[in-house]
């Protein structure tokens, strides 16, 4: 058996194992899937239908705000969860034990990314099912494109989590560090008010942050934009992923 075949086999095995282990923790399952779904349904009952699932109008406030906000929050929660899991694995010596095997850090991180993406996809799918009745009649919502945009954005945002997860010393610090790094990005990402409304210096700052591109991509795709209108967003998110993966493989700590 070639080493490439062994790598693929171990990746699939570890991924399936991590899914099973995750499913064995009822609280984790509840927090990751059921809570976001309940919050979504709760909010959807309180706000006008168009604001929930309808295509957004130009500017803000408008329809589609909730799907994009929910998506971004789920992605950020996935990042927080990735960082926490890796730091727990490091702190308890699981990573150290894996280090003494042919398993590479990239495989371990990739496994957790796949698990998080699958969970994100499942949560989003359930949410879209729950939200269907709020879609105004006749409104064409590009579910498939939006789904792909969700996974692509989450994938890129998770890579920021790689870097934090690679160095954060203990699980206790993991969540606060993730919150401190990620949530400020959200405030200037263009989700709550357009980037153009920010002071010039903050605009430069916002444009340097990957979350801004994720929000732009998700809002645009939900609105019905073609992918070609968001090549810059796609490029920025892909670049984020490449840079973060390269950085995390340099700074990854096993213990």
């Amino acid at each position: 058996m070639t080493s490439a075949a062994i790598t693929v086999r171990s990746l699939l095995k570890l991924t399936w194992l991590e899914i099973k282990i995750f499913a064995r923790e009822p609280l984790g399952l509840f927090g990751s899937i059921v809570i976001p779904l309940l919050v979504f349904i709760g909010v959807a009952r309180l706000v006008p239908p168009a604001a929930v699932m309808g295509p957004p109008r130009r500017g803000w406030p408008g329809g589609g705000f909730l799907p994009v906000l929910t998506t971004v929050l789920i992605a950020l929660s996935a990042v927080g969860s990735l960082i926490t899991i890796i730091s727990i694995y490091r702190e308890s010596g699981i990573l150290k034990r894996l280090r003494a095997t042919p398993l590479q850090p990239a495989i371990i991180l990739t496994t957790h990314v796949i698990v998080k993406l699958l969970l994100t996809a499942l949560t989003m799918f359930l949410m879209l099912l729950a939200g269907r009745r709020y879609v105004p009649p006749g409104a064409a919502v590009p579910y498939l494109s939006f789904g792909i945009a969700v996974l692509f954005s989450t994938w890129a945002i998770l890579s920021i989590g790689f870097v934090i997860a690679s160095v954060v010393p203990t699980a206790r610090f993991a969540q606060p560090i993730a919150t401190f790094v990620l949530y400020p990005m959200l405030t200037v990402s263009g989700l709550f008010f357009p980037v153009a409304m920010l002071p010039p210096s903050l605009q430069i700052f916002a444009k340097a942050l990957p979350l801004t591109y994720a929000v732009s991509l998700l809002s645009g795709i939900w609105k019905g934009d073609p992918w070609s209108a968001h090549l810059i967003d796609v490029f920025a998110l892909a670049l984020t992923f490449v840079l973060c993966v390269a950085l995390s493989s340099k700074v990854f700590r096993w213990e």
Binding site: M1, S3, I6, R9, S10, K13, L14, L17, K20, I21, R24, E25, Y89, S92, G93, I94, K96, R97, R99, A100, T101, P102, L103, W254
Partner: protein, 282 residues
């Protein structure tokens, strides 16, 4: 620090906590970079040739963990997927007494069962060399003895074992040869018997008798160095190899009625004390 492990033996690095045993082990495992000097395992460099070595060396780390809710068989199955050639995982679990625990979560295993699982993971790819770091620390005596039997079983299958321990009894019962380590240095290397003979050759025999002639009779024993008397109890010390036989011979020849007879031989703990000036527990 310099030592060599021979093929097919159980070699122990022994010393107190903080002596450098685990650091040495981690260098041998390729997990830690050496400051200077060279290490060769199966004629390969543990860091440069890590990939090649991982397929030929099995490792059990001190203080390692697995995911809390991973099942025993799943861990073995995952480990088996990492290597090109493996042994039958189920048979291995049976051999290590974990057959009935196949479906148990890691978090629900006892300390001894966890260690046996770690041994299974170290052996799943049928390695030539097995590295075991403080294998029985924290286990009760019964679990410890069971693990010792397993380690002997590894040697009987032709593997070479390098282990670390701060338990002198473990080293004496398990190791063919040991290296005594203190503050990052190898003080001496040898078989446990050889080290005891070299550093603590003195043998002690305690005899209780009310025979009034006993003291004068004992004085004629070859190699006797000292006699202490407390009431009817005599403590005889000597250095010759046949000292105990000579004491028995003297008792028998002079028909001395004995109510208690006890020999005390030195052990690795005494050797350590002699070599370093302090107990291994200090």
């Amino acid at each position: 620090m310099s030592f060599e492990v021979r093929e097919g033996e159980i070699f122990g690095l022994i010393g107190p906590n903080g002596a450098g045993k685990t650091t040495t082990m981690e260098c041998v495992e390729g997990l830690r970079k050496v400051d200077r000097g060279t290490i060769s395992v199966l004629s390969l460099d543990p860091r440069r040739d890590a990939r090649a070595l991982q397929n030929r060396v099995g490792v059990q780390l001190q203080q390692a963990q697995l995911q809390k809710r991973i099942k025993v068989w799943e861990a073995v199955d995952l480990w088996a997927s990492l290597y090109p050639r493996t042994v039958d995982g189920n048979a291995l679990l049976e051999r290590l007494g974990l057959g009935e625990k196949r479906n148990a979560w890691f978090m629900n295993l006892s300390g001894g069962q966890k260690q046996r699982l770690f041994i299974a993971l170290a052996l799943i790819h049928d390695p030539e060399v097995v590295l075991l770091d403080e294998l029985t620390t924290g286990l009760d005596p019964q679990a410890r003895r069971a693990i010792w039997d397993m380690v002997r079983g590894i040697r009987e299958r032709g593997k070479t074992v390098l282990l670390t321990t701060h338990l002198m009894e473990e080293a004496e019962r398990l190791c063919d040869r040991v290296a005594i380590i203190e503050r990052g240095r190898v003080i001496d290397v040898g078989t446990p018997d050889d080290l005891v003979r070299r550093y603590c050759p003195e043998q002690t025999v305690s005899v209780s008798t009310s025979d009034p002639e006993a003291r004068s009779r004992f004085a004629g024993i070859t190699g006797l160095e000292s006699v202490e008397q407390e009431g009817t109890r005599f403590t005889l010390r000597g250095r010759t190899e046949d000292f105990v036989t000579d004491v028995i011979h003297c008792i028998s020849e002079n028909r001395i009625r004995v109510t208690e007879f006890r020999t005390e031989t030195a052990n690795l703990e005494d050797v350590f004390l002699k070599l370093t000036g302090h107990s291994i527990r200090d």
